[in-house]
């Protein structure tokens, strides 16, 4: 495209929104330019290809550009914000690192003024968007479980990711506390879906996974006109603490009896639990105060059924 060529639509960013808008307008034959401040990601560059995948979640695939420091990154001052920056400058944007979590806003989120007396209501409501939420779920290939009493009815096109040992333990703890829980919707193929192979490893995901589904979706949307590539989607073992617990599952009892770790004792010395509690202290997360909820959950998690 020549430097001064006029376009009909200019889209800034090729992430979850930009790529979807670009795709939705492709058939209109308008001249569309999507600008992205990062480059295309090569599948071979993703951490899941190597043994150091976990460490790279805190280096070149760190969610904060302030630590990640790629050539495409620039510092962002979030010192005075409780919400710390999490982004990725590259084709696919935040979907490169977003772990495929796929929540919807609640109906009440659109009516904060009329319901709660704060800020302003949106000019649209959940019900006007519901059809598009459903369509987006279908296009992205969302897995989940219908029946959650905490949200309006929805219909994920694929079954949910398995609970695994971690999810089962989590559910037991939440039931013990009487707290609500439900498997999250995820933009991860748990079955073969519309020409795409299912994820070979369905686990909670974290930054640095080989996109396969989520980031690759956006790549495909931008390459409008290119056929969708059939590819096997793979994921990392998941959140470090979840993964640790999965790995230790077979020897957990023996480990507790025989291994003594000099991480803070806390609840029974479970290594996975230690790492979860101390991997992200409140100060690092920028939280001024931490409620009692996490401690209650930790206690429930540690209790034996």
């Amino acid at each position: 495209m020549a430097g001064n060529e006029k376009v009909d639509v200019l889209i800034i960013g090729s992430g979850a929104s930009g790529a979807a808008v670009a795709w939705s307008l492709a058939e209109t034959k308008m001249r569309i330019l999507c600008l992205e401040q990062g480059d295309w990601m090569k599948p071979t560059d993703f951490p899941s290809n190597g043994r150091d995948w976990e460490a790279r979640r805190y280096t070149d695939f760190e969610i904060s550009p302030n630590r990640r420091g790629r050539d495409t990154d620039y510092p962002i001052n979030d010192d005075n914000s409780l919400m710390k920056i999490a982004n990725f400058n590259g084709v696919g944007g935040g979907t490169i690192i977003y772990t495929a979590h796929w929540p919807r806003m609640h109906p009440s989120d659109f009516k904060v003024k009329s319901l709660d007396g704060v800020a302003d209501d949106w000019p649209v409501d959940y019900w006007a968007l519901e059809t598009f939420y459903e369509e987006n779920d279908r296009m992205m290939g969302v897995s989940g479980l219908a029946g959650d009493p905490g949200v309006p009815p929805r219909h994920p096109p694929m079954p949910p990711i398995g609970l695994g040992k971690t999810g089962t333990r989590y559910g037991q703890a939440m039931n013990r506390l009487g707290w609500h829980w439900w498997p999250s919707d995820s933009s991860i193929a748990t079955t073969d879906y519309e020409g795409r192979a299912r994820l070979h490893q369905s686990r909670p995901l974290h930054a640095g996974l080989r996109p396969g589904r989520q980031g690759q979706h956006r790549h495909h949307l931008l390459a409008a006109g290119h056929p969708r590539r059939r590819r096997a989607a793979h994921a990392l073992p998941g959140a470090r603490d979840h993964d640790r617990r999965e790995r230790h599952g077979r020897r957990r009892d023996l480990l507790r009896r025989r291994r003594r770790r000099a991480f803070p004792a806390g609840r029974g010395g479970d290594p996975g639990l230690q790492r979860r509690r101390h991997a992200a202290p409140a100060a690092e997360l920028g939280l001024g105060q931490v409620s009692e909820r996490p401690r209650q959950f930790v206690a429930a998690w540690s209790a034996r059924t």
Partner: protein, 158 residues
């Protein structure tokens, strides 16, 4: 000041790091698992510190100060107690130290094999996740819907 500008840990710092790592993750011969002070693992830790070097240095210095420079000569129980006490309030240096130690430890082939994992990258083979106990949701399903329906007035009218 000069030491702080060094691009990698000194031999003395590496030695200290090994003592600390071996205390935090000791060897377990019964499980066939090396300690984090194993030469190969320690070498991997040192090579992996990267951008966490300043924080790791800060952690080493804090532990040295807390022990009066006598950490290596303390018995295991005393070393564990010291690290436990320091870790609780150690902030970002403690997080960084724990992360580099455990991150390197759990990619060692012997450790992975000992805990029943294959010593390989996640891709392309992936892993199988068990479905788990879905009946745990039975109690949750019985609850009445509790999301706020913005179409219903406080009086309960639509």
């Amino acid at each position: 000041m000069a030491a702080a500008l060094e691009p990698r840990l000194s031999d003395v710092e590496i030695n200290d790091l090994g003592k600390i790592a071996g205390t935090m993750v000791p060897e377990d011969t019964a499980l066939g698992m090396p300690g984090a002070d194993d030469p190969a693992i320690l070498d991997d830790i040192v090579k992996s510190i990267g951008r966490d070097l300043p924080l790791v240095r800060e952690a080493l210095a804090a532990i040295a100060a807390k022990s009066g420079g006598a950490f290596a000569g303390m018995d295991r129980g005393a070393r564990e107690a010291l690290i436990n006490e320091w870790y609780a309030g150690g902030g970002m240096p403690a997080v960084a130290l724990g992360r580099v130690i455990v991150g390197a430890y759990y990619r060692d082939d012997r450790v992975l094999v000992a805990i029943g994992h294959e010593a390989r990258a996640p891709f392309p083979k992936g892993y199988i996740l068990e479905q788990g106990d879905w009946s745990l949701l039975d109690a949750v399903r019985k609850r009445q819907p509790f999301w706020r329906d913005d179409r219903v007035t406080p009086a309960g009218e639509r």
